[in-house]
């Protein structure tokens, strides 16, 4: 009987606990939701877009992609000078302060880059600056970068590296990777107040922010909540628990807008979708995909326009190149495959598969589009066994060379240059597992375009490479995505041309 009483008492106790009030305009607190969790504050240790967004709020870097023309603008740098192909001089903004109040000088910049280059554990960013030969201090507010060889995507990489305070990550040989993981002394427009990994990040405006291309935020307090379920996010938005969510599909977004409880914007995104085909026969020689006519048939079989328009919506469009048409170097005058099932069937027949064949198609996101494609391919005789699963499963199968075709997407992380997609996807096949073309020429052209600063030469190399990819149908380029954002009526959020959400520009209505 006593147990019984205790339980009843517990329940009574629970029901009297105070119900937390929602944060909102009255206390100048903006709440946004991410569906993927943030486990580490330090941008250098995360790969997801969410880390990039957070990084732009709490950190700053020498350069930044400004939203008007999608070009790289100096941020912590005040100006720069390209001395020659392999030397870059950067002058730093003066009077910029870290969140702890200390001033940023060239020592911090040199320290940061030396940390990134010599830290064996942080392979991702070490690789990012593989072009860097050395960095030297040329004055209290100036540094010089010496490059190994000419490198085109330099400013993008300078944007990726967030400047850390001198000494904060430890010393060479004794780097502390977790130094900034749970609390962070950054330079960005917001400061971290508290952080609960995988749950929420509480930020407060950095009143000493220098402005720069990002500008000073209008809203004082910002809470980022991790809510894995999109349905739950919508409910929170409707009930006032959050103000902003993104990656919202058009059906949901439009329906929500109709209720009048939120605004929906669907704008362009740098993300594209594509099928990677095992033309090189890595998954077994002589498989159907190694035949050019089969790959071309697949290009003809998928009704990209219909899927882009009906499933994705917004400004999503069919694409014919292995890059998003809006980014630098994405040459468009390549061989185009129209939607033509009859032609696809005859190509299959001429390749020796008049009755089609069975194919495992791997995918990990955008289940509706994957099913629509599978349906289209089925209509021309390629019987698809869809392997829709988790990314980890796909990665493992790809590494083990089991994959003949997979549906990939690439978001380019707010970087408007073909280099960002090609240096991952057209890597030397002996070093990575994404380039399944089996054609060394593709690697040579697409990565060669990064090795020069000459804009015209880069364009020519990308054009050659993209033409080759289209002609040989190494991929089935599918469509560009669109980015849907739901925002509460209380706030003003303007979507930018690259679909990258610049949260710090949000204002109250």
């Amino acid at each position: 009987m006593r147990i019984f009483k205790i339980f009843i008492l517990t329940i009574l106790l629970f029901s009297f606990s105070p119900y937390q009030a929602f944060a909102d305009k009255s206390d100048d607190t903006l709440v946004i939701a991410f569906s993927r969790e943030i486990t580490n504050l330090d941008y250098h240790y995360g790969t997801k877009t969410e880390y990039l967004i957070l990084g732009d709020m709490i950190d700053d870097s020498l350069f930044y992609v400004e939203n008007e023309n999608l070009t790289y603008a100096p941020s912590l740098a005040s100006d720069f000078n390209v001395v020659d192909d392999v030397t870059l001089d950067v002058n730093l903004r003066q009077g910029v302060k870290f969140h702890d109040g200390s001033e940023m000088t060239s020592d911090d910049v040199v320290y940061t880059y030396n940390f990134i280059v010599t830290n064996e554990k942080n392979r991702r960013h070490k690789k990012l600056v593989s072009w860097l030969k050395s960095i030297e201090k040329t004055g209290k507010y100036s540094v010089r970068f010496n490059l190994n060889s000419p490198y085109a995507n330099l400013f993008n990489d300078l944007y990726r590296i967030k400047i850390r305070k001198n000494g904060i990550m430890g010393t060479d040989g004794n780097w502390d990777d977790n130094a900034q993981a749970t609390s962070l002394n950054g330079l960005g427009p917001y400061k971290v107040v508290s952080f609960d990994p995988g749950v929420e990040v509480v930020l407060e405006r950095n009143e000493n922010y220098f402005g720069g291309p990002k500008g000073n935020p209008a809203i004082k307090n910002l809470i980022i909540r991790s809510i894995p379920d999109m349905g739950t996010q919508q409910a929170e938005l409707m009930s006032g628990g959050i103000h902003w969510m993104y990656n919202v599909k058009k059906d949901v977004g439009e329906a929500m807008a109709k209720t009048g409880k939120a605004d929906y914007q669907i704008g362009p995104s740098l993300r594209i979708g594509f099928l990677v085909l095992d033309a090189g026969g890595y998954s077994g020689e002589g498989n159907p995909i190694t035949k050019l006519d089969v790959r071309r048939a697949m290009n003809h079989a998928i009704n990209r326009e219909s899927i882009a328009k009906n499933l994705i919506g917004g400004p999503a469009k069919a694409i014919h190149t292995a890059c998003n048409p809006v980014v630098f170097g994405c040459f468009q005058d390549v061989m185009k495959y129209d939607y033509n099932p009859e032609k696809a069937k005859s190509l299959l027949a001429s390749a020796g598969y008049p009755n089609g064949f069975d194919l495992d198609l791997w995918s990990y996101r955008d289940k509706e589009a994957a099913q629509a494609m599978a349906d289209d391919l089925g209509k021309v005789g390629i019987k698809i066994n869809l392997r829709h699963g988790k990314l980890a499963g796909l990665n493992k199968a790809r590494k083990e060379r089991q994959i003949r075709a997979y549906f990939g997407t690439w978001g380019s992380s707010a970087s408007p240059d073909t280099a960002t997609i090609s240096n991952i996807h057209w890597r030397d096949p002996n070093k990575g597992d994404r380039n399944l073309s089996g054609d060394p020429k593709v690697n040579e052209l697409m990565l060669g375009a990064e090795q020069t600063l000459d804009i015209d030469e880069r364009k020519i190399l990308y054009a050659e490479g993209l033409k080759l990819i289209a002609e040989q149908a190494y991929w089935v380029p599918l469509w560009s995505y669109s980015e849907g954002v739901l925002s509460s009526k209380d706030i003003n959020f303007k979507q930018d041309a690259d679909g990258y959400p610049r949260i710090w520009n949000i204002t109250w209505n």
Binding site: T10, S15, S17, Y19, N40, P228, T232, A235, S239, G432
Partner: protein, 304 residues
């Protein structure tokens, strides 16, 4: 009794060790640990570097013993997905799961015990049928679906409870109902049959013939005898809740161990999943042991 408990404890430990080994083995074959650490954009050579650097190239048994001896010394390892020690991670997330587990068992008690008593007091009546209906329904409803319905109904259509999160106890009410519902059928049935058996037994008949009647009688005489088996089943159910809250926690965005487990599996974080499976199994075993002891106390024949 002590010998009985000691014997059972040895079984618990042995089972926990076996399970941890099975999990270790499965996880390390399902996921390439070096690839998981190196990240999805890593080059082949980097993956191989990691393999050597972290010692993933050594035989699996050797790695298992290293892991196991670490756990014995209280070193749960480092999570490479969450960038922190698994020990801290578990410590942070455990309170939410414990709260949810306790509250869901409270929900079970609040629904199942009165229903069971009422059903037993009025066998074959409308109340009895109703109770049975609840049990049948609770058994057949998928909990992720119930969770979504609850959100539509009680958080949006009638905004009584918050949609998600774990800030206050209020946030736990809906998930606790969802999680608690699945334990209602066994507990209610046991309560009902337990009471019916006692009511049928001789000493209650004697009590009745002596003039005791109704509620008073039921409470005073029957409950004492019927309630202990129910408590032992509740203990088993509580043990289940720790590992059983995976879906409920992710639907309601509660940052407990269940959601941690799900996200760690999707993030291929072997050290965390490994420890969590171990913890879930261990909790289950401990609560079962408690139930067994209770049963043995009730029925000395079981203490063999």
């Amino acid at each position: 009794m002590l010998r009985f408990i000691a014997g059972r404890l040895i079984v618990v430990i042995a089972v926990a060790i076996t399970l941890s080994f099975i999990t270790f083995f499965l996880l390390n074959y399902a996921i390439d640990p070096a690839q998981a650490v190196a990240g999805e954009e890593a080059l082949f050579e980097e993956i191989e570097q990691v393999r050597i650097q972290y010692g993933f190239d050594r035989p699996i048994l050797e790695r298992y013993f290293e892991w196991a001896s670490g756990v014995m010394r209280g070193n749960f390892g480092e999570s490479y997905y969450w960038n922190k020690s698994v020990y801290l991670l578990v410590l942070e997330r455990a309170p939410e799961t414990i709260t949810l587990a306790l509250m869901s068992v409270s929900v079970t008690i609040i629904i199942a015990i009165p229903l069971g008593i009422l059903a037993a007091l009025n066998p074959n009546s409308i109340i009895d049928r109703f109770a049975l209906g609840i049990a049948v329904a609770a058994q057949a409803v998928p909990n992720f679906w119930l969770g979504l319905l609850m959100i539509i109904l009680f958080a949006l259509t009638f905004p009584i409870f918050p949609v998600s999160g774990d800030k206050t106890y209020f946030h736990f009410v809906l998930p606790a109902i969802v999680l608690g519902a699945s334990s209602v059928p066994p507990v209610m049935r046991l309560m009902r049959t337990g009471l019916l058996d006692v009511v049928d037994s001789d000493y209650i008949r004697t009590a009745r013939s002596n003039g005791f009647y109704g509620w008073n009688l039921t409470i005073n005489h029957s409950m004492r005898n019927a309630v202990l088996p129910v408590v032992s089943v509740l203990a088993v159910q509580l043990g289940h809740k720790f590992g059983g809250s995976v879906i409920t926690e992710s639907v309601f965005a509660i940052n407990g161990l269940g959601r941690l487990a799900l996200e760690s599996i999707l993030g291929t974080d072997i050290p965390t999943v490994q420890i969590l499976v171990f913890i879930f199994a261990f909790m289950f075993l401990i609560f079962n042991l408690f139930a067994d002891i209770l049963n043995a106390y009730l029925d000395p024949r079981l203490r063999k």
